[in-house]
Subunit: 137 residues, 2 copies
């Protein structure tokens, strides 16, 4: 079974998805990522999908699951590198990637995570519901 | 044909090799990388091989070629994430990855490139031969 490598860059974990995700690979990635977030105390996860020609419901669900797992571990997930065609297909398929933030490229994803952490530092109560964040389903 | 994505992070281009490299993929990667170095003016290329179980002479030669191309474009190449078993196999095969610098992980690779750029800044003549660099064949 192939494993998707997780790269630590500063406070962020970077995952570049290039292989076709099977059930096993997806579960392994979720487990690896959860372990790495806890081990490194990272506050951000960037998932690069530049190499993906298509994001189907399976991959979309995997991304949502990763974002949810990361969130309860106090890390934010940003999906970057989405191709225009992928975005069009996603909308046509009716997949909205709920709860997932996106950015154009890795650098903007890092800025987004950095900006959010800075915002959080100003908050008195980190645990309170954030009116600006995506509403939970 | 699969293309290996190239991620720009600050002054560095990051490539994570996860797929089996064919002749075509390798040539495409070299071309893409050369174009991106010129387009972005990056001074460092980090190639992550965490996902590779084996580095044979083909991949070794590809890494050397990438390092050589990058060098003439004024960018330094660092290979990171080599597994212990891969290092052992490389030595057993007699492949020494000439002219390629290595680091344990992406962060150390970035430090290495940053440190070298800082050294270069102290030089009066960047174009002159550098006694410390790997001798040209």
């Amino acid at each position: 079974m192939e494993r998707v490598p997780i790269l630590k860059i500063g406070d962020i974990l970077l995952v570049s998805i290039q292989v076709d995700m099977s059930d096993q690979t997806a579960v392994a990635l979720q487990e690896d990522l959860a372990e790495r977030i806890v081990a490194t105390g990272s506050h951000g996860v960037i998932i690069d999908i530049t190499a993906l020609d298509i994001v189907d419901s399976f991959v979309g669900r995997m991304l949502s699951t990763i974002a949810s797992i990361s969130r309860v571990l106090d890390a934010e997930t940003v999906v970057v590198g989405m191709r225009p065609a992928v975005a069009i297909t996603l909308v046509e398929l009716g997949l909205s990637l709920n709860g997932i933030r996106t950015a154009l490229n890795v650098e903007r994803g890092m800025e987004l995570i950095g900006a959010n952490r800075a915002d959080d530092d100003h908050d008195e109560f980190d645990d309170g519901p954030d009116a600006e964040s995506t509403a939970s389903p």
